[in-house]
């Protein structure tokens, strides 16, 4: 075990953190007051007060910019973006930054990847979309997010379109399923769009819902792997009952999927809006108001019901503009709390009294490593043979197809896109992952040969400039005096000198908790 050495300031704070209250940790926190910024804050802070849970301090500007970039667009801010933001004296600068991030192209890339997990966009095994269709489906998802298509319309298109899997991409929804049995489709719809595990329902309810998906036809065309998904009136109609128990009235020539979609996307539907607001909350704050977000049951109630219903009302009145919801949550002080708790309460996490640290997603992590070193990765797909290789320079978050991968993505728990469950993404850190980051030739090569680091080393005016450059590049903040001193001591200790000492600092920073985790 190495010698533990922390700056006296941080150490004092760490010790204080054990007790009931403590002073701020200046690198990560600010003393700004917690007067509510919006209704989200009013509800959550009132709940915390009532429960006697002390919320964390507000996070510092440097924590905020890094957090917002990672959570909203899945990349790190550049050193220039960081310094500009930190210099900016506009009291509304956090709001301005949020607005700007929501309009970036990377916003669509990042969230299209998220939706591609949930919708299982994958060429083969066990989902069999085939590469062309996976690409088309991903493009459609990406465009929908980029154009900020209202969420209810997005869902309507997923549920009701007919046509070729290559030409009418949302029909792939009915192909990206474990089987094309009406019950399996109903389970998939319930999981994805209602946040419900229909396999736990009484049998009749699942059968009733399956009735809406019993007249879907699939047929091949002359083109290889093209498949038409359509309403097939020659299939006998089945009895269709809405999950709330109301029998559906469907004319014989009417597509039952339309009837179901009309029911589902109505603002009055108890499942539809709740599912999406709870998920978005969970994606940004690491935990659903109902948790897990895709296991909503009467016996799994929301932690703060008022918050959930408020967000639902907001999304409905914004006509399902998801960016409105993002904006509301991101601008709340609840979202902007520090990740260092101020309460020992075991319920602090469930009531959002601090921002939870989470390991970067596999894709975000490798993209960040490429970003800070200026290197690229190789991605390939074994489907079909001969293997497909993706041109250098592609960010992994914008890979269109779950069958396109790399050993790093596999090792770091990228979802296999088999089931569409949120829990498919595995962000538990393992010893094998630690080993890879600490000591693999893959990471070492990125550090040794990364043009961005080379550039920094060549062009910094002095060692201070180098160290500052590394901190801005890798941790999105300036180093503290103690951190500077730590480096000076290290470079004088004889263990490693000159360029090696700087490279060792870069190595240590990319292996630090601050880099590997959202915080």
């Amino acid at each position: 075990m190495g010698k533990l050495w922390v700056g006296p300031l941080l150490l004092a704070a760490a010790l204080a953190a054990v007790g009931a209250d403590r002073d701020i940790v200046p690198v990560y926190e600010t003393k700004a007051d917690l007067s509510p910024n919006n209704k989200v804050d009013e509800i959550v802070f009132a709940t915390l007060k009532q429960k006697g849970i002390q919320p964390a301090y507000l996070c510092s500007d440097s924590v905020f910019i890094r957090r917002a970039y990672l959570d909203v667009i899945g990349i790190l801010p550049t050193p220039q973006e960081v310094t500009q933001f930190l210099k900016d004296t506009d009291p509304a600068k956090r709001r301005v930054l949020i607005d700007r991030l929501l309009e970036r192209d990377e916003f669509a890339d990042y969230w299209a990847n998220k939706w591609s997990d949930l919708l299982r966009v994958k060429a083969e095994f066990p989902i069999n979309l085939w590469p062309n269709a996976a690409q088309a489906y991903h493009r459609w998802i990406l465009a929908s997010i980029r154009d900020n298509k209202p969420y209810d319309q997005f869902v309507r298109e997923l549920l009701t379109e007919s046509g070729s899997n290559f030409r009418v991409p949302p029909v792939n929804f009915y192909r990206a399923v474990q089987s094309k049995q009406p019950q399996t489709i109903a389970q998939t719809v319930a999981l994805t769009l209602m946040g419900v595990r229909a396999e736990k329902w009484p049998k009749e309810r699942l059968e009733g819902m399956a009735g809406f998906f019993s007249r879907i036809g699939y047929k091949e065309t002359g083109e290889w792997k093209e498949e038409i998904v359509f309403f097939d009136p020659t299939k006998p109609p089945a009895k269709a009952v809405f999950p709330d128990g109301t029998p559906a009235r469907i004319a014989p020539d009417q597509d039952p999927r339309e009837v179901f979609a009309n029911w589902l996307i109505s603002p009055k539907n108890p499942w539809f809006t709740r599912n999406i607001v709870n998920r978005v909350w969970c994606w940004l704050l690491g935990r659903g108001i109902i948790h897990e977000p895709d296991d909503i049951r009467p016996d799994n109630p929301p932690q703060i019901p008022e918050l959930l219903s408020y967000l639902e009302r907001e999304l409905i009145s914004a006509k399902y503009d998801l960016k409105h919801l993002y904006r509301l949550i991101l601008n709340s002080k609840v979202y902007q709390l520090s990740s260092i708790p101020r309460s020992d309460s075991e319920e602090a996490a469930a009531y959002f009294a601090y921002y939870p640290v989470r390991r970067l997603d596999a894709e975000v992590l490798i993209d960040a490593l490429c970003q800070v070193t200026g290197t690229t990765e190789k991605y390939s797909s074994a489907i079909p043979e001969p293997f497909t290789y993706i041109p250098d320079g592609q960010r992994s978050v914008s890979l269109p197809d779950g069958s396109i991968s790399s050993p790093f993505l596999e090792l770091f728990g990228r979802p296999p896109r088999d089931t569409g469950l949120e829990a498919e993404r595995n962000n538990r850190i393992s010893a094998a992952q630690r080993l890879h980051l600490l000591n693999s030739s893959h990471i070492q090569r990125k550090l040794d040969q990364g043009p961005k680091l080379q550039y920094l080393l060549r062009n910094a005016k002095n060692p201070q400039g180098m160290v500052t450059g590394l901190y801005l590049l890798i941790l999105s903040r300036f180093p503290t005096d103690q951190e500077w001193k730590a480096f000076v001591e290290y470079s004088q200790s004889g263990a490693s000198t000159g360029r090696n000492a700087v490279m060792d600092l870069a190595w240590a920073l990319i292996n630090s908790t601050e880099f590997l985790y959202r915080h």
């Binding site: 050495w5 990560y28 640290v357 088999d418 693999s440 030739s441 290290y490 090696n500 060792d504 292996n511």
Partner: protein, 443 residues
Amino acid sequence: MWEKMDAMDTEKGLTRRETIHWGLAGVAALMAARRASAAKPAKAKSVIQIWMWGGPSHLDTFDPKPDAGNDYTGPLNNPIATNVDGIRIGELLPLLAKQADKYSIIRSMTHGINAHETASYMVQTGRPAGGRDVYPSVGAVVSLFKGYNAGYKGLIPPYIVLTEPQGRFSEAGFLGSRYKPFATGGDPAQTRFAVEGVVAPGISDQRQRARRDLLQRVDALANVLKSNPQVRSAKEAEEQAYELILGDAGKVFDLSQEKDEVRERYGRNTFGQSCLVARRLVERGVPYITINYKGWDTHKDHFPIMRRKLPELDKGMSALIQDLSDRGLLESTIIWWSGEFGRTPRVLWEAPWNGGRGHYGPVFSAVVAGGGFKGGHVVGASDAKGEEVKDRPVYPVDLIASMYELLGINSDGRLPHPMGQLALVLPTESEGVKMAGPLKEIM
């Protein structure tokens, strides 16, 4: 220790409930059920799979057909006697010929598949490819039932592949990334075996230690969030990683600890030294090791390649068997030698092959030794030209079931399926998978 990380719940990983639902409890229940009914304790503790990537010729290795004529034997028409009466093997395997009493040859392996991917899947899962699910390979199943969930405590991951993953299909299937093999990378025949992540060439131990100290110093957030369970588990993972990098655990890969004479006996090449590493891993209780031995897809230049590669195989594999036997480890270690299929018995003399052999799934050979398998036997037979099964067909599922029985793994048990569906360790006949039963004659 690695299982601790895996079992640790974090908010975006599996929830406790799901972990229980999908895996741990199910596995525990299975183990309990099997213990209750298990008549025989497991004989085998580890498996060394020598995977002949690409498909080795059965005629030129363990099923010679000297009477089939030149169009079948090519120049290799002079099989040699072994130390077991009546068993002859290919002439390029003289060292293995002296050890035939320690292994058994199955000459009637069959599945009829001639494509690499689907045949690899069949041989290592017992199931035909193309179903809704991707099933886990034998290695992943063994690491499920004999790894951390079953009390394995080693720092070395329970499923190792030397040196590269097969790449034909996902070894872990629906069990997920946790059951994937740890691929060592590097080359054990080099002066220093640079196991990916364990050994970083060009970085001295001294600098490793200094860097580690530096990391402790600059890891400011970890120092403020010491009590956070995520940060704690990350630090534990880090310590385990360093046990491999700097501690004794990683020394298992350090072949300089072996005498030169031993290293020579195994052969100073990647395969031979991989066999030596495999023995060292078995000594430390690692339950499953795959030696991914490439280069057997010999469509062209077949015979020159055989003359080059078979002596390498002969040396490494015979040294491994002898060494395990000398150390008393053969009784508890299964060696499984097989490719995804055999090769066409009739030599393709015509262009563009000019003396090659193609893919051949109708009949091929496998070899098993140790872990409760008897040596000195031949199971089944191919016909006079090695083209069809003549006697006692053995399907991949039969061989796998036999290994599972020796390992104490219940083939009828359930695998944890991500959607909670019924998935058995091995298929039953009612699933339409051909089978002829375990290899009772050599168990």
